[in-house]
């Protein structure tokens, strides 16, 4: 397949996944804001959404103080914010439009409708009343995007690059969500409010559709260590790092070319370390440090994938 086509499909998938994860995070904060919270907690929660996306400085420059309404507007509708849902959905749509002939018509129509429907939204109306509904809609469109891809597309190279994009982005996003939220909850925990802590942890789980999974796997109280284990090491948990990296590795092996050996090896190494890792060892290092290192590795994989496959280089 054309390198450029692979590039567009890969980024289409990454932006769709990113839009979904932004919506998930905003949704969790929105739900938590319905619970009794101190002003510090509120600010902390919404600030964390910006932190996950590395947007604190850009946001403060534009809007100053962190308020739920301003953050939501910034993360949903702001056209100049490259991580806003608006920007992600537009980027996703423009990427698929550039290669619409390479995907099934159902995929293109689905992705195009997503954009057309989103663009038709009235921000004031959405922010005023049905913001939760909108987050759910974004999630549903992302589910639909995955479903129509798996359900209609020939499982060729094109398909592999889409999957590669989805799972690399998901690994990155889950790691960020876990990192930022974990730090936040730990901070709050010092105040010793057990009930609040419980809600924080369950909100984190819900943001990655992991609440029911946690109950099923552990049949016990929610503890930080187990939450981390579920989201990092459990390969049967669809949004965990282990699962995402397993998919990244598998899909990479299926598109391998003459120069991609090292990339494959690094992906395999990362996956294996998760596959056979122990949460105790991770906590010995410290979760934050561990996740920071992990994000460094996924960034490196992203660069290497671009180099090996996506950037049109003159190779024999």
């Amino acid at each position: 397949m054309l390198s450029r086509t692979a590039d567009h499909l890969y980024w289409m998938a990454r932006y769709t996944e990113r839009a979904e994860n932004v919506a998930r995070m905003l949704d969790v904060n929105f739900r938590m804001s319905l619970l009794p919270q101190t002003p510090e907690q509120i600010e902390q929660g919404w600030g964390a959404v910006l932190g996950v996306n590395g947007l604190q400085d850009a946001y403060r420059e534009l809007h100053g103080t962190v308020t739920p309404e301003k953050v939501v507007r910034y993360m949903v509708f702001d056209r100049d914010n490259p991580s806003s849902i608006y920007s992600c959905l537009l980027a996703s749509r423009e990427n698929i439009r550039a290669v619409r002939g390479s995907v099934t018509s159902e995929m293109w129509e689905m992705q195009n409708s997503t954009w057309l429907e989103f663009r038709a939204l009235d921000p004031e109306k959405v922010l005023g009343s049905d913001i939760g509904e909108m987050f759910e809609w974004v999630r549903h469109r992302s589910h639909l995007s995955r479903g129509v891809t798996v359900g209609t597309m020939l499982q060729d190279e094109d398909f592999r690059f889409i999957r590669l994009g989805s799972f690399l982005e998901r690994a990155d996003n889950t790691a960020r969500i876990l990192d930022v939220k974990y730090q936040a909850i730990e901070l709050g925990a010092k105040e010793g409010d057990a009930a609040s802590e419980y809600y924080q942890w369950s909100a984190l789980l819900r943001s990655v559709s992991g609440f029911a999974a946690y109950r099923k796997v552990y049949r016990d109280l929610i503890t930080p260590r187990r939450v981390a284990e579920l989201l990092v090491l459990r390969a049967d948990m669809p949004r965990s790092l282990a699962r995402s990296m397993k998919e990244v590795y598998t899909n990479l092996t299926q598109v391998a070319n003459r120069q991609s050996g090292e990339t494959e090896r690094r992906a395999g190494e990362l996956y294996t370390s998760l596959r056979f890792g122990r949460i105790e060892d991770i906590f010995d290092v410290g979760l934050h440090d561990y996740l920071t290192a992990f994000l460094g590795k996924t960034d490196d994989l992203g660069d290497r994938i671009a180099q090996d496959f996506l950037v049109p280089v003159l190779a024999d």
Binding site: M1, L2, E94, R97, A98, S113, E157, V313, A315, D316
Partner: protein, 471 residues
């Protein structure tokens, strides 16, 4: 519904023509709410499917629809048969002409076409002189614009031999009609058009460089922001070939390759939808980012076939157009089957004088213009517009031609006030490979404003499904 033009549906006595009778019945029997609902559905579908064109300068992520009208343009088999025979003759002639002027130039030597019209034309490409192209075919895809005037006679308005577009709308319009109104296709036996991409692929495969067993065909597009991008993507997908941009290709040792995730892959046939000027920055426009450096050299070496060939524009130029009937006689020894519109060449003093005296009745066009830009439609223009054009003509008469204003035929069309006749044209697509092929019909374009004669989509024109009836 008189008014000085040929009405496709109703004769001069107001009687519905026989080939429209069943449609007229259907329209009468169908509740208007249903029709309105279906028309809205068509809009939604076209948007969702993205059958749109990008308008330069508009915001990213927004494209416009080309309005689709649900009243089909119906042609009886006999009319189409006569028309298609004329199209074959004309396209065959134009390819012979191109071969001739890039080889022995017999027609110029015989004085049947003025040599300086050809050789000094900006569209004449000296790079093509003496080059042999597969099967001697230059214009593999031609989109010949046909209008009906007077009592319904067909005229050729323009031969588009460079990168004619619109065929995707022809195909999507049919799909849409069948989806919206399947019952109509039970009443009519309409000749299918859906096999066009297969025919196109077959033509492209037939012109691959000699000795290539399993040729790799690609469609070359200027990119997603080109107004006809939808069509490029559509045709590539329908033919199952790669859609490439210039940046995806490179030339090494006069061989063209595309950059793939598995390394370079050789390309044999390029259906290019990029104009000559932008194809190769080493030879043509240096600032072109759409082309492929070295492409012309690879082409001249016979390692890749371009479709259409370079330099076809010299045969569809408005200054050459008046000579096409003469070409038919010269190359085929036949009388032309299709009429040309009488054309005044303003470079000729007598013609200029006549045109200056009759501006308000005439259509004046720029010789090198297209897309309905840079033209004057005398009867529809204000005095000021006419005077403005007069000055432009006087400044550079050689840049213009003039033609009588044809009263184009009209077809009933849904407009705000109901159903009313609107002027139409027809663009059949003629494919030349081993043989000449076309699907019955073509793209019917309709000028949606009352009285307007400009059907171009860039000027607010719409399209209709075109039905050629089977006997």
């Amino acid at each position: 519904m008189a008014g000085g033009f040929f009405n496709e549906m109703v004769d001069s006595d107001g009687v519905v023509r026989s080939h429209y009778a069943r449609f007229a019945e259907w329209l009468q029997d169908t509740p208007s709410e249903r029709v309105a609902r279906k028309r809205a559905e068509a809009d939604t579908l076209f948007h969702r499917v993205g059958i749109t064109f990008a308008v330069y300068g508009e915001e990213e992520g927004t494209e416009r629809l080309i309005p689709f009208d649900i009243v089909p343009r119906i042609l009886p088999a006999a009319e189409w048969n006569a028309l298609s025979a004329g199209l074959r003759q004309r396209v065959k002639t134009l390819n012979l002409f191109l071969h001739d002027i890039y080889h022995g130039q017999e027609i110029l030597k015989a004085g049947r076409v003025p040599a300086d019209h050809v050789l000094k034309n900006a569209q004449y490409r000296p790079e093509m002189q003496g080059l042999d192209v597969p099967n001697g075919i230059y214009a593999h895809v031609a989109g010949v614009d046909i209008v009906r005037a007077g009592q319904g006679e067909f005229y050729v308005l323009e031969d588009n031999l460079r990168v004619p577009s619109g065929v995707s709308y022809m195909l999507e319009d049919r799909k849409m009609m069948m989806r919206l109104f399947p019952e109509l296709f039970a009443r009519y036996s309409v000749a299918p058009v859906e096999h066009y991409p297969d025919m196109l692929l077959d033509s492209l495969l037939s012109i691959s460089p000699k000795g290539v067993a399993d040729p790799v065909v690609v469609v070359l597009t200027p990119g997603a922001y080109n107004s006809a991008y939808f069509e490029h993507a559509f045709l590539a997908q329908q033919m199952g070939v790669e859609l490439v941009e210039g940046q995806d290709l490179f030339v090494r040792s006069d061989v063209v390759y595309m950059r793939t995730t598995q390394g370079p892959r050789r390309v044999d046939v390029i259906y290019r939808r990029v104009d000559d000027d932008f194809l190769d920055p080493l030879v043509f426009r240096k600032d072109s980012k759409l082309g492929v450096p070295g492409l012309l050299s690879a082409y001249r070496s016979g390692n890749v076939t371009l479709c259409n060939a370079i330099g076809t524009g010299v045969a569809d130029d408005k200054s050459i157009y008046p000579y096409v009937p003469e070409m038919v006689r010269f190359y085929l020894g036949e009388e032309p089957l299709l009429n040309n519109v009488p054309t005044y060449m303003l470079r000729k003093p007598d013609d200029l004088k006549y045109v200056q005296a009759h501006l308000p009745e005439l259509v004046v066009k720029e010789v090198h213009g297209s897309g309905g830009y840079g033209m004057l439609i005398g009867p529809a223009s204000s005095k000021a517009q006419i005077e403005d054009f007069r000055k432009r003509i006087e400044a550079a008469p050689e840049k213009y031609i003039a033609q009588p204003t044809l009263s184009l035929s009209a077809c009933p069309t849904f407009v705000e006030s109901g159903v009313a006749p609107r002027h139409i044209d027809l663009r059949p697509f003629v494919l030349s490979g081993r043989e000449i092929n076309m699907v019955p019909g073509g793209l019917t374009r309709v000028a949606l404003s009352e009285g307007s004669l400009v059907v171009n989509s860039s000027q607010g024109g719409g399209t209709k499904d075109t039905w050629v009836l089977e006997n």
